[in-house]
């Protein structure tokens, strides 16, 4: 399984940091700043996992979960819930997300979440 992930966040500093963080750990990364852009990327290529913010511009990360399901049904997605709101967390899991990270999170937590997503996927 390719250790390639797609990072989706409308905050460029966050995108850059996450890309660097995962690249440091040996992942290949791509990034997108909106759900639409992410969908375009997902159409082009396959990713081992997706890490996406929930609250972004027009379309939310929850919509990306739905898009991902029809485009790439086997690809796990981890959502970042900025509000730390239990509603968003519940919604994320209900929508079919593999997991969630509530901001602010420790970088290790992000690495661990994605590693688990990969592990789960290879276990299927």
């Amino acid at each position: 399984m390719t250790r390639r992930i797609l990072i989706v966040d409308d905050d460029s500093a966050m995108r850059q940091m996450l890309e660097a963080l995962f690249q440091d750990e040996g992942y290949a990364t791509d990034s997108a700043e909106s759900v639409d852009e992410a969908v375009a990327r997902l159409r082009e290529s396959e990713y081992g996992a997706v890490l996406s913010d929930i609250r972004m511009g027009i379309r939310s990360g929850l919509e990306l979960v739905a898009e991902l399901r029809s485009l790439r049904p086997g690809t796990p997605i981890v959502l970042m819930t900025a509000f730390g709101s239990s509603d968003a967390e519940t919604e994320a899991i209900r929508a079919g997300a593999f997991g969630y990270l509530s901001k602010p999170f420790e970088p290790e937590a992000a690495l661990l979440a994605l590693a688990s997503a990969f592990e789960a996927r290879s276990g299927v």
Binding site: A82, F83, K103
Partner: protein, 417 residues
């Protein structure tokens, strides 16, 4: 025959005297002969009016009435005007007051007897002596006037007594009502205060949630970069500085997480929570820490029933208070946790320590966010705000009393239903 002053005056005014008594005595055989017929005529008359007919439906009342009427008729021949005689006459008015019959009915009865008896007097007693018969009829009229006056006055007096009683009763009820209104006012004020506190908390929560959201992202970025730098750092001193940066960012993160926990709208989880068991468990969680500090724990935790609530959040409330108490007693002391019911349908938990106490000028600030007297880095000043939020969310309240050098007591009241 002893006659009281009032009766003497009345008799004098009516010009009712010994001569009348002598004349009335003539009536004795006549009355005895006609008593049954007179009572029957009286009874028939009563039956022709709705209110009296209504009363006579009860056979017991009817029998009693007929017996009394017969006795009354016979007594007309021997009016003694003594205390007992007057009392019996008064009773007629009093009874009418008690059963709520208008005076017209008994006053009418005197007139009725007058009209029934006058012809009989003419036919019997007056035979052969019309002049004496006329005086007898007049004597009877005076006696019946006496009787009706006495009954009427007794009726009015009894009415006034009833009125006084009712007035007093009404006044008592009005006082009771006033007290209730006052209590309601206090309850309303308390509810309003709680509502305002909840509102304040909600607006603070919204602000905090927005702020935390904005700060969360850049902090995540800083944290991520710092972590990446760490693995590239070879210089120990530089590494230590970076670790410090990360440590401090973690500290900010924890504050934000706490605030977010406060801010997040907690779905109202309500299950029956037995506070005695919950407090006991919570105490055991901090048992080791308390033991290390040589803090004696006194529990007074009777089973008083359960409160509807979220057990995890309530536990958080009490744990915060226990840990604060422990921090206030670094040299050991006494922690007392008690549970009781108040008269208002609340479970009341008191957590008191024998620690350093809180200065009076700080007392009203302890529930404010970021207020702390702990050494920098040892408390974020959110613990008691969280406690208050949890108590208020449960429809309850938290208060504090404290004396410097003696200790502090927190009182948490939670509604039992």
């Amino acid at each position: 025959v002893p006659i009281d002053l009032d009766t003497a005056q009345r008799l004098s005014f009516l010009n009712l005297g010994d001569e009348d008594q002598a004349l009335l005595a003539d009536l004795e055989p006549v009355l005895e002969r006609h008593a049954d017929a007179l009572v029957a005529a009286f009874y028939r008359h009563l039956l022709s009016f709705a209110p009296t007919r209504q009363l006579l439906r009860d056979p017991a009342v009817k029998d009693r009435l007929l017996v009394k009427q017969r006795a009354y008729l016979l007594s007309l021949a021997r009016p003694t005007f003594d205390e007992r005689f007057v009392a019996e006459r008064r009773r007629i008015g009093e009874v009418h007051q008690r059963i709520g019959l208008d005076p017209r009915w008994y006053l009418g009865a005197y007139a009725l007897y007058q009209s029934l008896l006058t012809p009989i007097i003419w036919e019997t007693a007056a035979k052969g002596d019309p002049e004496r018969g006329a005086r007898t009829a007049t004597a009877l009229q005076k006696l019946l006037s006496f009787d009706s006056q006495v009954a009427m006055e007794a009726y009015i007096e009894a009415g006034r007594r009833n009125l006084d009683f009712l007035t007093e009763e009404l006044a008592e009820q009005s006082r009771q009502l006033e007290r209730e209104v006052e209590d309601q006012g206090v309850a309303l004020r308390r509810t309003r205060e709680q509502a305002r506190a909840a509102e304040e908390l909600a607006s603070v929560a919204t602000l905090v949630a927005g702020l935390a959201h904005e700060i969360g992202t850049p902090m995540g970025v800083i944290q991520g970069h710092a972590k990446m730098l760490e693995s590239k750092m070879v210089d120990d001193d530089a590494r230590w500085r970076l670790e410090t940066i990360r440590g401090q960012i973690s500290r900010i993160s924890k504050i934000i997480q706490t605030l977010l926990n406060m801010a997040r709208p907690h779905p109202a989880r309500r299950v029956p929570v037995a506070l005695d068991a919950l407090l006991d468990t919570s105490l055991s969680f901090v048992g080791e820490k308390l033991g290390r500090r040589r803090i004696e724990v006194e529990r007074d935790l009777p089973a008083i029933g359960s409160v509807p609530g979220d057990p995890e959040r309530l536990q958080q409330l009490f744990l915060n208070l226990f840990l604060n108490a422990a921090d206030a007693m670094p040299e050991g002391g006494h922690l007392r946790v008690s549970l009781a019911k108040d008269g208002d349908g609340h479970a009341v938990v008191r957590v008191s320590d024998t620690g350093s106490g809180i200065r009076p000028e700080h007392l009203d600030k302890v529930f404010d966010p970021f207020f702390t007297t702990k050494e920098a880095g040892h408390g974020n000043g959110l613990g008691l705000m969280v406690c208050k939020g949890i108590a208020v969310d449960h429809g309850g309240s938290i208060d504090v009393t404290s004396e410097v050098g003696k200790g502090t007591e927190f009182r948490i009241a939670l509604p039992l239903r």
